[in-house]
Amino acid sequence: MTRRSFLRRGTAATGAVAALAASLSPLKEITDTDSFSMSKFLQKHYKEMDGKDMASALERISKEVEKRYDIRPNIRDIKPMDGVEFVYALNLTRCIGCRKCVHACVAENNQSHSPEIQYIRVLEMPRGSLDIEQGNHHYDRPTVPDEDHFYMPIQCHQCANPPCVKVCPVEATWQEPDGITVIDYDWCIGCRYCEAACPYWARRFNFTRPEIPKDKLNTNMSYLSNRPRQKGVMEKCHFCLHRTREGKMPACLEVCPTGARKFGNILDPKSEVRQILESKRVFVLKQEVGTLPRFFYYFDERDPINLKVPTGTEGDRP
């Protein structure tokens, strides 16, 4: 090799290495808790994991949570119960739009505080219309309810024919036997096809690294529900499956001050939701798109807000 060719090739090689290093330099910003781990990279799809694989995955997640939040979570993989199909019913006559469900959901399900991610959106709708285009997310009043509006919370409808599942190119989201559509956050590639496919605007994307204050972390976690998510994955309402698969009610229901939210097993003839579906005139949102939601809305026969108290003959509000 001549001195000239050595210098020529050497300069080119040095420049190329420097360019490669510079182009990879954004990786410096990845902090240690997001770091690449071989066990995560080699982790199987949720449905292909056996008990031992799941145990090691849960152990890895526990360590990651402990490292970032200084607290060891109670994380497990909860399987659906036999003979259970979850259904949600929401009484629009009673909902007053106080948004307590929104924030109870954030607290229960470890959604990002900054940037803000919320699963439930509450629309303020003009009375006499069900045109969602007229709904307003950003209503702000001293108190609610407003007499000229009604309030319509929307979250994942856990469709029986879910378009979000059909479009997922990697099968990172699927419908479980109890009707809950779940996401494997370790399998999601963040393409956001599901977000585009959902007619109910139920899916949320982590554009940046989600931030949760250390003292606000809910340590009662499960693999498919509220374990902390990472940047670049989708998330959505999962009917609080870490609670509901253990027999409890979802967090949004427990906090509702008016009892507008109803939840239960539709296959149980004695359940509240079954009785509501049998005795009330329920409807689903965007029935024409054929998604067969498991989330039903209903109104009471009489509208208490229009009954002026105490001038009416019967103070029946709400």
């Binding site: 607290a107 997310h137 001050p257 009892g259 019967e314």
Partner: protein
Amino acid sequence: MARNGSKTKPNASAGYFVGAGFGCIAIVLYIMGPSVEIPIEPGIEIDRAEIKPGIWRVAMTDPPMINIGTLNQRCSDCHSLFTTTRDPDRALNQHTEIALEHGANDGCLNCHDKQNREMLALEGGNVVGYNQVELLCAKCHGPIYRDWIKGSHGKTIGYWNTDLGESIKLSCTQCHEPHHPAYRPIVLLPGPNTLRMGDQSTDHGEEIDERNPLMRWRINEDAHSASDSEHGGDD
């Protein structure tokens, strides 16, 4: 370079430029690469007391107790000593904190039993304890009572699966203040800040906000269609 198969010698100095070019790109990338800041609206922290789950208000126990001074007193401690007239217009000289706003139901003894103040009055002189207050309410609110029995009115907390834990169906007075059964207006929690495109806190859809990029597009389209119609376009 080896076009036509002829062995032309490459320009000997080209290699230096390749290296220098890569070096320049490296410097530019290094300076510009990681400095991109993604604007993130800080999240709104909610006080945990605002989202406390469970029972909305504390109902009367059975038998009912009332705190007078520092002592818990049974109703009959006082009411066994004197009688009450059924006169709705008479001002109360005790229980003055109660302002009865229950529609047409404006008399104490419509609900409270005259003889035994620790019971509630049903029709025909029958009485029922405070732990079965729904039977009293059902005297007037029949359809609501039916809905409450079936579960479409009211609130059930605890466990939906009674094999695994207790299901607690709240009674009427665990949500409604019986002397003012209508819910008072509630202070609402803050709305989302990530979806906000301009101030939409006022009525939606009447004014076009110029800060909103989609609305800017609509302004242009409106202006465009307006100029079209001026030129006689009637489609």
